[in-house]
Subunit: 332 residues, 2 copies
């Protein structure tokens, strides 16, 4: 396979750095790679396949002669530069929310709806991290029976707000332990030894943007506008993996072993569900893993065909960088 | 009002220490007070109303001439000594789970079912902390319309496992930040910068003991064996207040302002629900408060008459010590 010319926009961010690692680990056929960031990061160097590469500024001229651009530089930069990249025949895989609900843009989890990729018009959107982690856990079940209702409460790591937010959790924890002043720069509330409702704007219906993303993206990815979804998104003092407590109402009753088998056979998910040892998915164990972990699988006694579960997945990997690179692989 | 002779069993524990503070703060009419603990704590002294009091050993002779015993010394000690206390006409308010589901023992939240107290036969049970915090948030709504379904996911603080568990969270956080070995003595899994399914045994239906307590205790307190309840209980790296993400299916649709007003008018609960400022209940703000905080109040789009909310309450106060002392006040 001939190598591709790859752009990574937002290369110095938490997701950008993971994208480089994932490209390398998965032996993605890279010919040239261009690492782009905002002016602040110019002059920085990043290592890819043992080679030091200078970070360049993201401009409208960044895409000429390039094949695939992996964007993770924030919504406003995606809105400005992704169309320019597409016009240069450099296909965009965009990590931001800018184009996710655009009808002309496929929203893809490669294990779930890879066939949507072929309809792209130059931009493919990577779903929200919480959406990906949720769907990786429940899609094996959805393949066995329709799901009527999804009720999810999240336990989201600092990484979802970027590298500086992870550092803020560390700095605040250190300050708290040593009775020093806790400084808030990234999050609006103290994150160390605390938790708070996801700090995105609240819609008139009372849901925040993160929750609305989950609802709408689940429907788009499943091509199922009728599925009932409710989410409560909460930020917790964990560094980089998201967890989710999920209740489902299924149309048909399934066996629990059948469900466990389906999850284990589904590429990208793995059952961690040892009741005797009280050993279930935990963010420290999901961190650094490609697989999403699924456990606490039990009948949910609130519904006739109810099912409850607890899911944990690396927000930076399957929740962002890995999923983006997997989409790029499908473009090869 | 003449003073009562009070026993505090488990006086040196996290809850016991709060009981002393609450008795003092609420000017509970105490004549004599006897502070009891296991042999390990003998010789310790605790301060009550400015006076140093020696900790004595809990024995079967501890209750003669005493009026009310506040137990928070673990289930096995409650099972052994609470009946002895009751025989000595010293009414027990028991914080453990030992007697909660006993038909002869009232299970009481004084704001909700105070009338149950009068049926006691010497022992009154204090509900599980997560149950109290949940019901304090939703009972004002239940007074307006029956609730068919309660779906709750918890974010439980280390305090629920006692003072040593709180110290373990601090010690592990310190060790993590300074790249030292993380020691696990109280919790089976790392708690610092992590979270895990509540570490109580799992029943054959897949629910853990904490979750089953919530289901059964909600039904008993509300005298409503038919209400559908499902809980997922999770331990998070927070020190002392529990949070809960709740979805309800109501029998009738209520106005959101009507609900907010009902919560604010309910003694012991308070609305914290500023959508514009993204300001909702947080455990650091619930810590040290008597009131349970309720926010994120919105229609839950998963149900016809759905309602979602987020609740935070001090596990050691309303979740334990305060509720116990309030029960004792009703005995006066």
């Amino acid at each position: 396979m001939s190598g591709k010319n790859i752009v990574v926009a937002g290369a110095t961010g938490a997701v950008g750095i993971e994208i480089l690692k994932v490209l390398e680990k998965r032996k993605f056929p890279v010919n040239n790679i261009r690492l782009l960031a905002s002016k602040r990061s110019l002059g920085n160097k990043l290592t890819f396949r043992g080679e030091e590469i200078k970070v360049e500024e993201l401009t409208k001229d960044s895409f000429k002669g390039m094949d695939i651009a992996l964007f993770s530089a924030g919504g406003s930069r995606s809105l400005e530069y992704a169309p320019i990249s597409a016009k240069n025949n450099c296909v965009v895989v965009d990590n931001s929310s800018a184009f996710r609900m655009d009808e002309k843009v496929p929203l893809v989890i490669p294990e779930i709806n890879p066939e949507d990729i072929k309809n792209h018009q130059g931009i493919i959107a990577n779903p929200n991290c919480s959406t990906i982690i949720l769907l990786m856990g429940i899609y094996p079940i959805y393949q066995l029976t329709p799901i009527d209702r999804i009720i999810v409460s999240t336990y989201q790591a600092a990484s979802g707000a970027g590298a500086q937010a992870m550092q803020e959790l560390i700095d605040q924890s250190e300050a708290y332990l040593h009775h020093k002043t806790i400084e808030k720069n990234i999050f609006p509330h103290q994150i160390a030894f605390n938790l708070f409702s996801h700090n995105t704007p609240i819609d008139e219906n009372g849901y925040n943007t993160e929750e609305i993303k989950m609802v709408k993206e689940v429907r788009k990815i499943l091509h199922n506008p009728d599925i009932k979804v409710t989410a409560t998104c909460v930020r917790v003092p964990v560094l980089r993996a998201h967890s989710e407590s999920v209740s489902l109402e299924l149309q048909n009753r399934l066996g629990l072993n059948q469900i466990r088998e389906a999850i284990n056979q589904f590429s990208g998910a793995r059952v961690v569900d040892d009741r005797e040892k009280n050993y279930f998915p935990m963010p420290i164990e999901a961190s650094g893993l490609d697989d999403v972990l699924v456990g606490r699988i039990r009948y949910d006694e609130c519904f006739n065909n109810g099912l409850a579960m607890f899911i944990a997945g690396d927000q930076l990997l399957k929740g962002a960088a890995l999923n983006a690179v997997q989409i790029a692989e499908k473009l090869l």
